[in-house]
C-alpha cells in the first residue's frame, strides 16, 4: 500500500505531477491511497495521520509549506513507515535526517540561476551593449520555488552590473495576475528588455499584455519563463516567448524506483535533483558554469506531454 499526500491542484504543473506519480504507482501494481490537501496544511496533517491509522507501507509526501511538520512526521517515524519526499523538502527540528528515506525534486535556486545565465549569455550572443532592464514576475511570495528561483536569479544579477531589475512584483503563479501585473509594468516602466517570469503561466499571461501594449513579445521584450510546460514550448515555437528553464513534474519513475529499491533492501542518497534543461528558440546558449547549453524547443516539443 502506497499513500500519496499532494498539496492540491493549483496549476497545470501540479496536475502533471500528480498524474505522473499516481500513474507510476498504480502501474507498478500497488494499491494507492491518495489525498489532496486542497492547499491546506491542516488537511495534509490530517491525511498523514489517517495514513498511519490505515497502516500504509510507504508514504509519498509533497509538503505545502516548509515548516510545521515535526509532530506528524515524528508519528510517521514512530510507525516506521518509510517517507519519500518529492518536490519540496520541509525543515524539521529533528537534528538528523533519518526521518525521511529520500528526497527527489527540482533545484529551485539552480533553475533561477540558469535563467539568469541564459539572459546574460543571450544578450552577449546578440551583441547587446549596455544595461539590460529586467521585469520580474515572481511567484507566490514565500513559496519554495519563489524563494529559490529569486535567489538563483539574483546571484547572476549581482555578478553582472549591467543587468538591472527595474520592476519586481508578484503574479502569484497565475496567468491572470501575470497579465494584470505586466499590464501595469508596461505603463510604469519606460523601457523593458527582459521579462523573467518565475513560472510559465505568468509568462503566458504577460505575453497577451505585451501584445495589447503594441509591442512584439519575443522581440521587443525577451521573455523567459520557468517550468517548461508544453504551452511554453508552443509559445517559443510560435516566436512569442524566448526561453524557459525546466522544472520537471515527472517524479513517478523515481518514486517507483525508490520503493522497489527499498523492498530489495537498497539505500538511497538523501537528496537527488532531476536533470533539467533550458529550452529556447535556437538552442546553444550557455546556461551554467560547466558550459552546458540550452536546447532547441522545437526539437523537444513532441515529447512534452503536459
Amino acid at each position: 500500500k502506497v499513500a500519496f499526500s499532494q498539496i492540491g491542484q493549483e496549476s497545470d504543473w501540479r496536475t502533471a505531477n500528480t498524474d505522473d506519480v499516481k500513474k507510476a504507482i498504480v502501474d507498478a501494481g500497488w494499491e494507492l491511497i491518495y489525498d489532496d490537501a486542497q492547499q491546506k496544511q491542516e488537511n495534509q496533517v490530517k491525511a498523514l495521520r489517517n495514513f498511519i491509522t490505515q497502516g500504509v507501507d510507504y508514504i509519498v509526501f509533497t509538503a505545502i509549506v516548509t515548516t510545521g511538520w515535526d509532530d506528524v512526521l515524528a508519528e510517521v517515524k514512530e510507525a516506521e513507515i518509510p517517507l519519500i519526499l518529492i518536490d519540496r523538502l520541509p525543515e524539521t527540528s529533528f537534528g538528523n535526517d533519518d526521518w525521511y528515506t529520500c528526497y527527489f525534486g527540482g533545484d529551485f535556486p539552480f533553475e533561477g540561476y540558469k535563467a539568469g545565465m541564459w539572459v546574460k549569455n543571450y544578450f552577449e550572443s546578440i551583441g547587446h551593449k549596455g544595461d539590460i532592464n529586467i521585469v520580474r514576475l515572481s511567484g507566490t511570495t514565500g513559496s519554495d520555488p519563489q524563494i529559490g528561483r529569486t535567489k538563483g536569479f539574483d546571484e547572476v544579477v549581482a555578478a553582472n552590473p549591467n543587468m538591472k531589475i527595474v520592476y519586481d512584483q508578484t503574479g502569484n503563479f497565475t496567468r491572470a495576475e501575470g497579465q494584470a501585473v505586466m499590464e501595469a509594468a508596461l505603463k510604469a516602466v519606460p523601457k523593458i528588455d527582459v521579462l523573467w517570469a518565475e513560472n510559465d503561466d505568468m509568462a503566458l499571461g504577460a505575453i497577451e499584455a505585451i501584445k495589447a501594449a503594441g509591442k512584439v513579445p519575443g522581440k521587443d521584450i525577451i521573455i523567459i519563463g520557468c517550468d517548461a510546460v508544453k504551452a511554453a514550448f508552443e509559445a517559443i515555437v510560435a516566436g512569442e516567448m524566448n526561453a524557459t528553464s525546466e522544472c520537471t513534474p515527472l517524479m513517478g519513475a523515481r518514486v517507483v524506483e525508490v520503493i522497489k529499491g527499498l523492498e530489495a533492501g537498497q539505500t538511497f542518497d538523501k537528496v537527488v535533483h532531476p536533470v533539467e534543461y533550458v529550452y529556447d528558440m535556437n538552442g546553444g546558449i550557455v546556461i551554467d558554469d560547466d558550459g552546458n547549453v540550452s536546447l532547441k524547443a522545437a526539437d523537444h516539443i513532441n515529447e512534452r506531454l503536459y
Binding site: 492540491g8 496536475t15 491572470a176 499571461g205
Partner: protein
C-alpha cells in the same frame, strides 16, 4: 423657493453613499496624480485599435467584478449572499475551453480553430451557470436554506466540477472570435468595458424600468409582508440567484478569454468577497433592501483602482490587503450613519449661524 430646493438637493447628494464612494475614488486617483502624473496619460494604440492607459486598465479589469457585483447586488437586496460566483467563473471558463478544444488526452498546438461554433460555446457556458444559479435559488427559496450555506455548496463543489469538465487540465486556445471577447475593441474601448456597460444597462432597464427592482427590494425588506401583498417571493428570489449565476458565467467567459485558457484553480478566486464589498461600498445593505447600481459600479472601480495602484507603483503586493482594509474602512466609516448625521448636524449648525449673521 428655488434656493431652498437647491439647498435640499446638495444636502441629499452629500448624504448619499454614492457621493462618498465617488469622493473616495477621486481621492485615490488624486494621490496617483500627485505621485506620478503620467498615470493619467491615455493614448491611442493603433495596433489594437483602442485607447491605452492606466485608467482604461482600471475600467477594463474591473469588468469581471462589476458584472458579478451586479448580480450580487440583486441577491443582497433580497437579504441573501451568493458565495458561489467565484467557482461559477471557473466553471464557465472550463466549459468554454472544453467545448472549443475537446481534446482531453492530447495536447495539439492551439490554433485559430474551435471544434464548436462560438455561439454554442457561449450558450453552453452561460446555460450551465444559469442552471447552477437556479440550483442556488432552489435551495434558498424552496428549501429555505440560509443563503451562505446554500451557496457554499457550489462554492466548494463548483471548482471540482470545473476540473472534472477539463480533466484538471489547463487548455489554451488561439481561436480569434473567442479571444475577441476580452481582447477585442469597440468604439476605441476594450470589449470587456463594452460588455460591462451592456450588462449594467440591461440590469438598469430590467430593474428600474420594470417593477422588478421594487419587488426585489420589497422581498428583501420584509418577505412575509411582501407575500401578503401578493408578491411571489419565491419566484423573485429564485430569479435573482439565476441572474447572479448567469452574470458569473459572463464574467467567466471574459476571464478565460483574457488568459485565452481556462484556469479551474485560480479563476474567480475571491471574487465573491470583492463583489460583496463593491455592493456594500455602493450603499447596499447586507440585511436586504434598497440597492444602488451606480454605487455598486463605483465600489468595484474603487477596488480595482487600489489594485492597479499597487501594481503601478510597485508596492509590495502583500500591502494590497492592508491597503484595501484601510481604504475600505475609511469609506465605510464615512458612509456610516452616525458619522453622516454628525457631519449633517455640524453643517446645519454652521448654516444657522450664517443665517443669523445675515439677519443682523
Amino acid at each position: 423657493m428655488m434656493r431652498k430646493r437647491m439647498k435640499l438637493d446638495t444636502e441629499r447628494i452629500t448624504k448619499s453613499k454614492l457621493f462618498w464612494a465617488i469622493v473616495a475614488e477621486l481621492l485615490i486617483l488624486l494621490v496617483c496624480l500627485i505621485i506620478r502624473p503620467d498615470f493619467f496619460s491615455i493614448s491611442y494604440q493603433p495596433s489594437s485599435g483602442m485607447l491605452y492607459g492606466s485608467l482604461i486598465d482600471i475600467l477594463n479589469r474591473s469588468s469581471e467584478i462589476t458584472i458579478i457585483a451586479m448580480g450580487m447586488m440583486l441577491v443582497i437586496a433580497t437579504a441573501g449572499t451568493d458565495l458561489s460566483v467565484g467557482s461559477l467563473v471557473a466553471v464557465s471558463g472550463a466549459l468554454a475551453l472544453r467545448l472549443m478544444r475537446w481534446d482531453l488526452d492530447l495536447y495539439p498546438t492551439p490554433g485559430d480553430w474551435s471544434i464548436t461554433p462560438l455561439y454554442l460555446v457561449i450558450a453552453a457556458s452561460l446555460g450551465a451557470c444559469l442552471l447552477m444559479g437556479s440550483f442556488n435559488g432552489l435551495l434558498v427559496s424552496r428549501w429555505n436554506m440560509q443563503p451562505i450555506i446554500a451557496t457554499l455548496i457550489l462554492m466548494v463543489a463548483g471548482r471540482g466540477i470545473a476540473q472534472v469538465i477539463t480533466g484538471g487540465k489547463q487548455m489554451t486556445t488561439m481561436f480569434s472570435p473567442f479571444k475577441f471577447i476580452a481582447h477585442g475593441s469597440f468604439l476605441y474601448l476594450p470589449m470587456p468595458v463594452i460588455i460591462t456597460a451592456a450588462v449594467i444597462l440591461v440590469i438598469y432597464l430590467s430593474t428600474r424600468r420594470t417593477a422588478f427592482g421594487l419587488f426585489i427590494e420589497s422581498v428583501g425588506v420584509n418577505r412575509s409582508a411582501s407575500r401578503v401583498s401578493g408578491l411571489n417571493a419565491r419566484r423573485i428570489i429564485m430569479t435573482v440567484y439565476m441572474i447572479s449565476g448567469f452574470l458569473a458565467g459572463i464574467s467567466g467567459l471574459i476571464y478565460s478569454s483574457r488568459i485565452i485558457s481556462n484556469d479551474s484553480n485560480n479563476a474567480g478566486q475571491g471574487y465573491e468577497m470583492d463583489a460583496i464589498l463593491a455592493v456594500v461600498i455602493g450603499g447596499g445593505n447586507m440585511a436586504g433592501g434598497k440597492f444602488n447600481i451606480a454605487g455598486t459600479v463605483m465600489g468595484s472601480l474603487i477596488i480595482r483602482t487600489i489594485i492597479t495602484f499597487v501594481y503601478y507603483f510597485g508596492v509590495a503586493a502583500e500591502a494590497i490587503m492592508v491597503f484595501k482594509a484601510m481604504i475600505i474602512a475609511v469609506v465605510i466609516i464615512l458612509q456610516s450613519e452616525p458619522i453622516r448625521r454628525m457631519l449633517e448636524k455640524r453643517s446645519r449648525m454652521r448654516r444657522s449661524i450664517q443665517g443669523g449673521a445675515l439677519h443682523e
